[in-house]
Amino acid sequence: MEEQYMNYTPQDFKSDQEVRWCPGCGDHAILNAVQKALPEVSKQLKYNLERYVFVSGIGCSSRFPYYVNTFGFHGIHGRASAIATGVKVANPTLSVWQVTGDGDALAIGGNHFIHAVRRNIDINILLFNNQIYGLTKGQYSPTSPLGAITKTSPFGTVEHPFRPGELVIGAQGKFFARSLDVDVKLTAEIMVEAAKHDGTSVVEILQNCVIFNDGAYDNIADREHRDDRVIVLRHGEKMVFGKNRDKGLILSGLSLKVVTIGQGGFTMDDILVHDAYNPNPGVHMMLANMEYPDYPVALGVIRNVKDSTYDDNVRDQVLEVMKTAKIKSVDDLLNSGDTWEV
């Protein structure tokens, strides 16, 4: 009999709980992408359904675990990375997915987030970035742009936003990818890559909050302009974009530059090839930081570098020590060291 993990359909990953996001919320599309990605992950990595654990903090996005038919843990605000870390260390065979919002991961949970990345624990972090606090109804978040007018910044924010990619790579992150909620196919494709990566994979998904920050990404996500304003990066492929695939990125001095192929003497040969596996974070950092209108916004897997993972290191160290240990039980331990008879 064929193992079950070969034949899952998205339907298998739908739970019986009613999905309660606002109609039109980008979260619906992301849920679809996950339910599409998991059968593929299962097939490629031979995982059965029970192997997945979804862990979240608090926020609209953090309701996610209820909607996936596998193991789930809806935690407390900001602490999903820590909870997910505990799950993975306790049982490294599990496929652990953290679902988190920009407020959850980067404000209250900023500390845990960067330390999970730094440790390179093998979890997959889906960071839903709607640049706003949804669940608490429209306050600015650490990714809201400078000057954003929200309920708690009626005259515009006066603080500089985080760029999640910059934060991840700065914290020695080994995997960073970005997608758009509306592009379910790309999101699912990236999630499969994230699952296959050993170590902390951070996937930033630009997510529209129809209620409190509608259209935050329209300038790049809008169908009409999207191809000219985003670039989808794939390892080993040229960094070209545009409706007519005639624009590309080159390295000019120490920065990236957008050029039009066939103009100003630039040919396809000048265009950079994306090397997601390069351990040097320089170009990845530049790609992750590209912002419209100066640059296209980079989507796809920007960085994907192999390194040892925290959970493997923990397990290996325990096994290594146990191999030569004299103490094999609590009785041995209690009787070790200086003892005497009365």
């Binding site: 029970e50 654990v53 845990h112 003892t339 005497w340």
Partner: protein
Amino acid sequence: MDKQKSVQELDEVVVRFSGDSGDGMQLTGTLFADASALFGNDVSTFPDYPSEIRAPQGTIGGVSGFQVHFGSRKVNTPGDFCDVLIAMNPAALKANAKWVKRGGMIIVDADQFNEKGYQRAGYKTFDAVSELNLQDYKVIFAPITNLTKESLKDSGLDNKSIIRSKNMFALGMVYYIFDRPLNFTEKFFEKKFSKKPEVVEANKKVLRDGFNYAANIHAIASTYKVKQATTLPKGKYRNINGNTATAWGLIAAAEKASLPLFCGSYPITPATEILIELAKRKDLGVKTLQAEDEIAGICTAIGAAYAGNFAVTTTSGPGLSLKSEALGLAVMTELPLVIVDVQRGGPSTGLPTKTEQSDLMQALWGRNGEAPMVVIAASTPSNCFDYAFMAGKIAMEHMTPVLLLTDGYIANGSEPWRIPSMKDYPDIKPPIVAEGTEGYMPYARDEKRLARGWAFPGKKGIAHRVGGLEKDFLKGTVSHDPTNHQRMVDIRAEKVQRVQEFIPEQQVIGDPEGDLLVIGWGGTFGHLFDAVQEMRANGKKVSLCHFNYINPMPKNVADIFGRFKKLVVCELNMGQFANHLRMNYQQFNYLQYNKVQGLPFTVVELVEKFNQILEGK
């Protein structure tokens, strides 16, 4: 040899080592305590050190002390006052003179009693003996620094290392006075400096020179003999402090449950040694995660508990405050988790290195919502092992977080411990849900304990979701139904209360009825016990009721309390346990004796208080 020297035989002696925090007094005291224990005495220790790592040298703020009480019979406390004080500088003498028994012996390093030393310690004169009123004491001015220099001048060690060895010279002197064998300490040097034979030799030499110096000077007229303890039960012994015992008790619980132990924690005084001890135990499969903060510490532990490890987190007062929100999550998700709080002086960062019992209310109530939790307290360094074990057993079998309280005094204090055998400890049988269980309901409960099943991720057929939002009574899905919330609040409380059926009845030390019942909990046991024994020896009708199970309390409490004319609750806070009793047993009148000085009780002050109460004052 000095023929006039007399040998006095004593049942028990208290020695206090004190010096600048850089003088190595904690090590000196520990070595002396270990040597005494290995020699066969019963021992109790009390490290008392400042929180500044490096307060200005020679000042009162930088004085570090280590008291050792040892005897040929059972000793229950480190002793109120010492027979012998070693003071390595004028500040140490000034800070500790009041703790010496009248007429006791004081050994000081004469070389430090110079102008600079006196000034730094804030003396008004250059005559410590008169200024501190020590005329009736045997004060021995020994030039310890210079003798150490002389002893090691050919050792090849640099000047700094030589000076650092003066504590070993002093220790050698004390070994002579109490007729202790040197071999245990020599073995320690061999092990600790195994890669530096010259350091081993130097330490041995200076220790022996200190010993010989004390033997040769006529100032030390008598030495003392404290025989091996004969009252201790037969068996194999070791020394243990509370933090190590706690760590080992947790490992023991994991072994009995056949589950891996996971500890997520963040360093904080005085709890850090538990994490350190657990980190060493990779040989027993222990996983420790030094988290980025206390919140992460407990949250990693909750994640590990969800995934099927025996999970613990360790901390002290301020860290427990940070963990509060996650404690509520553990209550809501009904996962097994042990939280160890080694109490220290508060509020806020308070007195980090000093002991107190003032986190009790936080342990019982410090959470949002109705979030009852099992709270237990250890009462001696060695029984930290048993109560850590019990915390694990209750957490796993009842599917509930358990908060274990210890305190700086028992955590750092040490005593000889008769090594138990794990076959004498009960098995731990958590309600683990089998793979493929038909009709699995995440919040269905067993009737006896009201514990829900523990379903590990990865197992087929039992996928489920938990979290901090209110749960449906059976399915565990999110429920906003008002009557469901009431039912869940009720059953979570009832579940904790049910633990009462699984803990032993409360014992009374002394007669079951009388004029005064002394009530205490946690680390004050030794002092309360000695004080009550003293009262009883004087014919007073006083008994002791000392609690380890704080919430729920044992069943027979009201029965015990009702048999005494007066009740006095003694604790190192302003009355937190007394108020807990007032809430639970309102029919009684509680007197209080409270102390919040960062110090344990003394037996003397307790006895005085009890006499006053009996006299109706």
